[in-house]
């Protein structure tokens, strides 16, 4: 039971991380109609920025803030230099172009930071474990990730639903020609939205950096998980991304933790040992397939799409 609670928290943590990535992807897709394969590169850049700033400043918190700011700027520069030219192209050309960007960023990181990975060391207060329930200890840092990401989700909700910028973002999602005609600087809006998505991706990378090694290509596999999240949630829907991210995070983590043991009860030890790992890594894709059968547009299809 205690192990179950711990695994649920791990699942929630993965879910929040996926949400940060998926929110940027779905925002950029919903508003600019852009498929961005280089989103994982921004996640990777965020982690490298954090590791570098931590060395330079010696402060973890300062490194996080600077890395998110750097990701925001990197995203906006990327939008102005390259991404903006892809909006008018079809999805296939967007795939090709952003795939080129992904290759470019992997190589750029290798050139600047070298082929060896980096580590981001946590301050010692974060290394401890706290007692969250009688007998259940959980690492402080993972709790911090969950809470901070929840705060970011709430802030994102507030910005999109309650501010003027958010109003423009929602208007841009439903009819971009119209808000352009109403005199809104749509180019600037697009740059800001892409920068926001990049900052969220970079922030996800920063948060994950102390848990994993900071290395080239670290954004590639998690990007596909973020795609699964936005397929399940409905492309273009932030609310859908939030729900789907938590569901995917929980199912993936709990599946890996418990499915092999459950198989032992049904199958022979040998068959279970072979099937267990394979089946548990398939669980979220099976979930995705099941949802597609019943709701091809995802759980929360964005209006007008």
């Amino acid at each position: 039971m205690l192990y179950f609670i711990e695994q649920c928290l791990n699942g929630a943590q993965l879910g929040m991380l996926l949400f940060l990535l998926a929110a940027g992807l779905t925002l950029v897709f919903g508003i600019m109609d852009l498929v961005n394969l280089a989103h994982g590169s921004l996640y990777m850049l965020g982690a490298y920025f954090a590791a570098t700033f931590a060395v330079l400043t010696g402060s973890f918190v300062l490194a996080v803030i600077l890395a998110v700011a750097a990701s925001l700027i990197a995203g906006m520069v990327l939008e102005v230099v390259a991404i903006r030219r892809l909006y008018e192209r079809g999805h296939l050309d967007q795939v090709l172009g952003t795939f080129g960007l992904l290759l470019f960023f992997n190589e750029l990181v290798r050139l600047v930071w070298g082929p060896a990975g980096m580590t981001l060391v946590l301050p010692h207060q974060m290394l401890a474990a706290v007692q969250i329930m009688p007998g259940v200890y959980y690492p402080v840092y993972r709790l911090v990730i969950i809470l901070v990401a929840l705060a970011v989700a709430a802030l994102l909700y507030f910005v999109v639903m309650r501010t003027r910028l958010g109003m423009l973002i929602r208007a841009g999602a439903s009819n971009r020609e119209m808000i352009g005609a109403l005199g809104i600087n749509i180019k600037l809006l697009y740059t800001l939205v892409f920068g926001l998505g990049a900052a969220l991706a970079g922030f996800a990378g920063v948060m994950q950096a102390p848990i994993l090694t900071v290395q080239i290509g670290m954004g590639e596999n998690i990007l596909i998980l973020a795609f699964v999240v936005i397929i399940i949630g409905g492309i273009g829907s932030i609310r859908g991304a939030f729900v789907a991210a938590i569901v995917v995070g929980l199912i993936d983590t709990l599946g890996r933790a418990f499915l092999p043991d459950m198989l032992h009860h049904i199958l022979s030890t040998n068959a279970a040992a072979t099937l267990g790992p394979a089946l548990s890594s398939m669980s979220i894709y099976i979930l995705m397939a099941a949802i597609l059968v019943f709701r091809p547009e995802g759980l929360f299809p964005a209006a007008g799409r």
Binding site: R89, G97, I235, T274, S281, Y285, A289
Partner: protein
């Protein structure tokens, strides 16, 4: 979707001296004579490189069938390379060495996987289709990592190439090259026959306007699914060839960026063009090889090239040769 040109519906006859015809012919002649050059110059690396080019060109031909003619942007095509390769590798490890068993199994399993993935993903369109094919391929990638008995993450060495009862010896590099070349030409011929048949016209009609095709009575879902399965089977064959060439398979073969490579080849060469995928495979793999010789950081140049192609070039290299503007 984005596929815009309608080359096979384009009835304008092309002169035999058009740059496109001449260059395609020259490319085929070079490919046919390459083993001779390799033998005379003793450059066996060229033969290895071009065998790989031919095999991946078969994969790109398969992708072009669904993507160029059918408008189905599959971002999971490397999964078929992996399935075909693992079929050969697993059977070889279990003691079944005959190519007459291995290759049909590779094709059949790929077709079966394509049937399942196609049946699910063809319910959706556009970006959903891209992402779903991508996600299922990633699933197969993780399944391969989970196959501890067959090397898991580290991959599996194939100690004996597929046996054909002593009639064809795949260890003979020149013979293997020509086998791949023949299979490539056969697959291009197959695609040509398909796209010019009634079936192929329905597929192309569905790409242009799916709703209208359904309204005039074609169950386009079934047509597209069959097309998807044919493409999967063809790419599975390419996987079986690739496993025989490298004598090794690993999950890395199925990483989603490998699917990206296949898309790059198909688009670079020219979508919806019969020889486009071959041109694209030659161009992409030679560019990759050439860049890695002149610089330690080849992707720093390759990446921006792809971006520029995506932004400015319409219809790929074949489109440029045909003088098509804004396809």
């Amino acid at each position: 979707m984005t596929a815009s040109a309608h080359p096979s519906l384009d009835a304008r006859p092309e002169s035999l001296l058009a740059p496109r015809t001449v260059l395609t012919g020259a490319l085929l002649a070079v490919l046919a004579l390459l083993p001779l050059y390799a033998m005379l110059s003793g450059n066996s690396f060229a033969l290895t490189l071009f065998t790989r080019v031919l095999i991946l060109a078969i994969g790109a031909v398969s992708l072009n069938l669904i993507m160029g003619y059918g408008g189905m942007v599959s971002f999971g095509h490397a999964a078929y390379l992996g399935i075909g390769g693992y079929a050969v590798g697993i059977l070889a490890k279990e003691g079944v060495g005959s190519g007459l068993v291995q290759w049909p199994v590779a094709i059949a399993v790929s077709a079966l996987y394509a049937l399942v993935v196609g049946a699910l993903s063809l319910r959706t369109r556009g970006v959903y289709f891209i992402m779903i094919t991508l996600a299922f391929a990633q699933m197969i990638y993780y399944v391969a990592i989970g196959l501890d008995r067959y090397g898991g993450d580290d991959g599996l060495t194939i100690y004996r190439r597929s046996q054909f009862g002593g009639v064809i010896d795949l260890n003979n590099k020149t013979l293997f090259y020509y086998l791949c070349f023949a299979l490539l030409l056969a697959s291009i011929y197959l695609v040509a026959r398909i796209v010019n048949s009634r079936f192929g016209l329905v597929i192309q009609g569905a790409r242009s306007n799916d709703r209208r095709m359904r309204a005039i009575g074609f169950p386009t879902f079934r047509y597209k699914l069959v097309c998807f399965v044919i493409a999967g089977a063809l790419c599975g064959l390419a996987g079986a060839l690739l496993a025989n060439q490298t004598n090794f398979i690993s999950p890395a073969l199925m990483h989603w960026t490998r699917s990206g490579d296949l898309i790059v080849m198909a688009v670079l060469g020219g979508l919806g063009s019969l020889f486009g995928p071959l041109i694209g495979a030659v161009a992409f793999l030679l560019l990759e090889e050439g860049l890695s010789r002149v610089t330690e950081y080849p992707d720093l140049i390759l990446g921006p090239i792809l971006l520029l192609v995506a932004i400015y070039v319409h219809g790929g290299i074949d489109g440029l040769l045909a003088g098509r503007r804004n396809g």
